[in-house]
Subunit: 144 residues, 2 copies
């Protein structure tokens, strides 16, 4: 569904968000540890998120990553997915035809499209704040 890079990106962003509501920045090292992801590889994806403006980064001692808390309800999961995996998840033909279209549909199109649309809807309508609240309340988890 999502690439490994994208899974790490979403987990990391949620963790950064949870720390940011406490007014704290989080280092790459801490993120990798708390999200159980490979450090150097996670660094790459965080760079992309930073360039996309989803997270903020600060170099130097006491640096790290953070997110403006006032933005957390405006940031949607779809933005993270778009930054890392692009939008082909919602556009690709389920059976691998060059393009998915109503004019020239594959045999699975009619059944598949609504499900894919549902996926797109939840991803576009779920905010970072939505995902973070469960984590801070202890009802959801980012690693084993």
């Amino acid at each position: 569904m999502f690439s490994k890079a994208c899974e790490y990106a979403i987990r990391a962003t949620i963790f950064i968000a949870a720390r940011s509501v406490e007014g704290k920045r989080t280092s790459l090292k801490e993120i990798s540890r708390e999200v159980d992801s490979p450090v150097a590889f996670t660094a790459k994806t965080l760079q992309k998120l930073s360039k996309s403006g989803i997270i903020l980064s600060t170099k130097g001692a006491h640096g790290g990553f953070n997110i403006d808390p006032t933005q957390m309800s405006a940031i949607k999961v779809s933005q993270i997915v778009m930054a890392i995996d692009g939008d082909m998840v919602y556009k690709r033909c389920s059976l691998g035809l060059d393009s998915c279209s109503e004019d020239h549909p594959c045999p699975f199109h009619a059944r598949f499209k609504p499900v894919r649309q549902d996926l797109q809807n939840i991803v576009e309508n779920t905010s970072l704040l939505d995902l973070t609240s469960g984590l801070v309340s202890g009802s959801t988890f980012l690693k084993v």
Copy 2:
């Protein structure tokens, strides 16, 4: 979503089914052409489908692949997916946690699970016959 191998497998199976209702066997070469998939690679996936009992194969001149028409409503897309990709599509955690569970859910679990369930349902409830009818009536397509 599905691997390339699985996409080819589903397309090929639908094409074989369409030919089988006319009582004809189809050669690998013809399948690859009509489904627009790489010959040798498609051969591999057809071997798996054959070993899984989803399609029948016959060697030699006038050989090829076919499907018992009386089975076509009993064969579900899920069987093809299972034979090629396994069932992780319906079981994997969307954010890459080791396992997806209600006891230890990731932040996306509650929203993601129903969509994944819908996908599983359509895949398990759609038969080969369902997908083949649109092809023979000309309303759906297997290649550009």
